[in-house]
């Protein structure tokens, strides 16, 4: 892996370099193209209601993908993020049913995801286990834990605060906005700022790019990686809150593909699975691309299985583009 953040001084950057410097541009273009294609090919896609719905439909995976991006930037991967989130929804629901107030249920749910990510991060940094293996094990354990904890039951959640992110408000008379959308946008902007404008963010990229060089330049590699897992843990807890806003029901069988869906969004967003390169804004585009494809293809009347084929092809295409861009350098 060559260092990809080094800028190449030249008068006219090649297209490849352009994409390397602005990783979110490609996904943004793809998103625009997708929206245009569906706007022309159906007469139900391009209206404010539907666009709002598409964004709402992308929130849970989009939030999972935000945490996933951080972890992938450190050259890790988290296969257990959705299972951790589902466990948190169950914890919140059970506590609420047991008479705990919404705010405490919410906080304890987030504490749970932070604990899980903390344990995973510690195993990755202290015991030097591969993240793939640790989170594969965690996925199995957390899924079982969720089912045990819930006694296999799905638990409905009716609470002002826990469902708050799903509350619909109308702007300018017609545009449907949920608090969940606002929160997701704020979280993305905060993470974008932290990654691009703070020392911590630069450390995260450096650790993902070349851990050894990072260590030699005085960065505390282990501490940085652990901090990433802890931040991701908080984000997965908030994803659980998003999930209860979207579907006010904690179900141990929900989001079985959430982990892979979040990786899909990250990859479509142009973040490299080898670490050290990518952006959270790209991931936001990636999550929206998936939601737009699903919605648009559904309204075109395309069978869901063909939609999966298209999404899979797009993932491979995105990585191919990434490779070609690197080769041009």
């Amino acid at each position: 892996m060559t260092s990809a953040t080094a800028t190449v001084e030249s008068d006219r950057p090649t297209i490849g370099e352009f994409f390397l410097r602005a990783p979110a541009v490609g996904p943004a273009l793809a998103l625009v193209v997708a929206v245009l294609v569906f706007s022309f090919s159906t007469d139900t896609f391009l209206n404010l209601d539907n666009i709002s719905l598409v964004v709402q439909q992308s929130l849970v995976i989009g939030t999972l993908a935000l945490g996933q991006t951080l972890i992938i930037l450190t050259a890790g991967i988290d296969l257990a993020n959705a299972a951790s989130m589902v466990l948190a929804t169950l914890i919140m629901a059970k506590l609420l049913a047991g008479g705990v107030s919404g705010i405490f249920a919410l906080l304890l749910g987030i504490v749970a995801t932070v604990l899980v990510s903390g344990v995973v991060g510690s195993l990755v940094t202290k015991v030097k286990l591969p993240p793939f293996i640790v989170t594969l094990g965690a996925l199995t354990m957390l899924t079982a834990a969720g089912r045990l904890f819930a006694g296999g039951e799905a638990v409905p959640v009716a609470d002002g605060l826990l469902n708050w992110l799903g509350t619909r408000r109308y702007l300018f008379g017609g545009i449907e906005i949920t608090y969940g959308m606002t929160l997701a946008l704020i979280m993305y902007l905060v993470m974008w700022y932290a990654l691009t404008r703070t020392a911590w963010g630069k450390h995260v990229y450096a650790v993902g790019n070349a851990p050894e060089s990072a260590r030699l330049s005085g960065i505390k590699v282990n501490r940085t990686v652990l901090s990433v897992y802890l931040v991701a843990g908080v984000i997965f807890g908030i994803a659980a809150w998003q999930a209860l806003g979207r579907v006010p029901n904690a179900d141990p069988n929900a989001y079985q593909l959430g982990n892979l869906d979040s990786i899909t969004a990250v990859v479509l967003g142009g973040t490299s699975l080898f670490g050290g390169r990518g952006s959270v804004l790209g991931t936001m585009m990636g999550a929206l691309i998936v939601a737009v494809l699903r919605s648009g293809l559904t309204q075109l009347g395309v069978d869901a299985l063909y939609q999966d084929v298209a999404t899979g092809a797009l993932v491979i295409a995105a990585v191919a583009v990434d490779r070609l861009a690197r080769r041009q350098r």
Partner: protein
């Protein structure tokens, strides 16, 4: 690069749009019940790969065609995919459906989206699985799963002929409504309580054949002294049979199942299990579509729980348990014959 991405995306869309599909694209965004309109029926199933839901979908599609209604079918990705079902409801509303027929993945998972659809004037009917509370939808067309479980339990009890049951229970997905109803129904039919010493072991197998086989193989490591097996559905019945056969235990055991798929009826005929309880997805779909057509025409809504019935299928009838033989079963079964 841009060209590649763009071309790729357009190609993906075009390729997939070429895929065959029973769905039609509707314009418009208005929901109007009544007023002599044309019915636009949307069906949301749990998944679109399970033969049971394939049958439901085919029957609904045929009924819609016969009655001049538009039809569109969507599904979740897996059993328990509430989020996918909510998305499906939203998409159908966008497309201006007048009626949504849904087999909810969880009886409580999609209530919020159903509520939104009903407020927008869409008639919502639950098929196959009731919601909790049942009033969350306008009406339900389904098997009474408690009764179906009871029928299996009563048959097994009669077949044991007064011998004390030594029972394995092969359950579906822990916590799913249908699973709970059939489980408690079976126990009521055989006359046992949950946790009774006669229950020698139980394993949740998510409705899946290979999981059931593994689960029962493991239970048999603990004890082979059993004489009865409850299975929640036929794929799990087949998995259980494979495990029992490997241990040479099939002769001493009365096994029952529920579903009434053609393969399951054939299994009964072949003696893999003694009896199965048939349900009628075709009836659910047809009645649902007819209600949708009526609603579009006159604005009249169906109401309450409508039991589409369940019938014991066996070639070894027992006194006191009403049943039909496998000839009748093969004529009335669902799925691939």
């Amino acid at each position: 690069m841009r060209k590649i991405l763009t071309a790729g995306l357009v190609a993906a869309v075009l390729v997939s749009a070429g895929g065959c599909t029973v769905e039609r694209h509707w314009g418009g965004n208005t929901n109007s019940g009544g007023g002599g309109g044309k019915a636009k029926v949307g069906l949301v199933t749990k998944t679109d790969t399970n033969p049971y839901f394939v049958e439901l979908r085919a029957a609904a599609s045929a009924a819609a065609q016969a009655n001049g209604a538009d039809f569109s079918a969507l599904a979740g990705q897996f059993d328990g995919d509430n989020d996918g079902q909510v998305r499906a409801i939203e998409n159908l509303m966008q497309q201006g459906a007048t009626t949504i027929l849904i087999t909810p993945s969880s009886s409580t998972g999609v209530l919020d989206a159903i509520d939104r659809a009903r407020k927008a004037g869409v008639l919502v009917i639950a098929l196959d699985t009731a919601t909790e509370p049942a009033e969350a939808v306008d009406a339900t067309f389904a098997t009474d799963n408690f009764v179906a479980g009871q029928q299996q339990g009563a048959y097994v009890k009669a077949a044991l002929g007064g011998t004390q049951p030594k029972l394995f229970m092969v359950d579906g997905t822990a916590g799913s409504t249908v699973d709970t109803q059939r489980h408690t129904g079976f126990l009521s039919g055989i006359g046992l309580a949950d946790g009774a010493p006669e229950i020698k072991g139980s394993t949740p197998a998510n409705g899946d054949q290979s999981t059931a086989q593994q689960g029962v193989e493991n239970l048999l490591q603990r004890t082979t002294d059993i004489n009865a097996v409850y299975t929640m559905n036929e794929p799990m019945g087949r998995g259980t049979y494979a495990a029992l056969k490997a241990r040479g235990l099939t002769g001493q055991i009365v096994m029952g199942s529920i579903d009434g798929g053609c393969e399951g009826v054939q299994n009964v005929r072949d003696g893999q299990y003694a009896a199965t309880v048939m349900q009628f997805p075709k009836k659910m779909a047809e009645q649902g579509v007819l209600a949708a057509v009526e609603y579009a025409k006159s604005g009249k809504k169906p109401a309450g729980f409508n039991n589409t019935g369940s019938v014991v299928i066996t070639d070894k009838p027992m006194p006191g348990v009403e049943s039909q033989n496998t000839d009748w079963g093969l004529q009335n079964c669902w799925g691939e014959k």
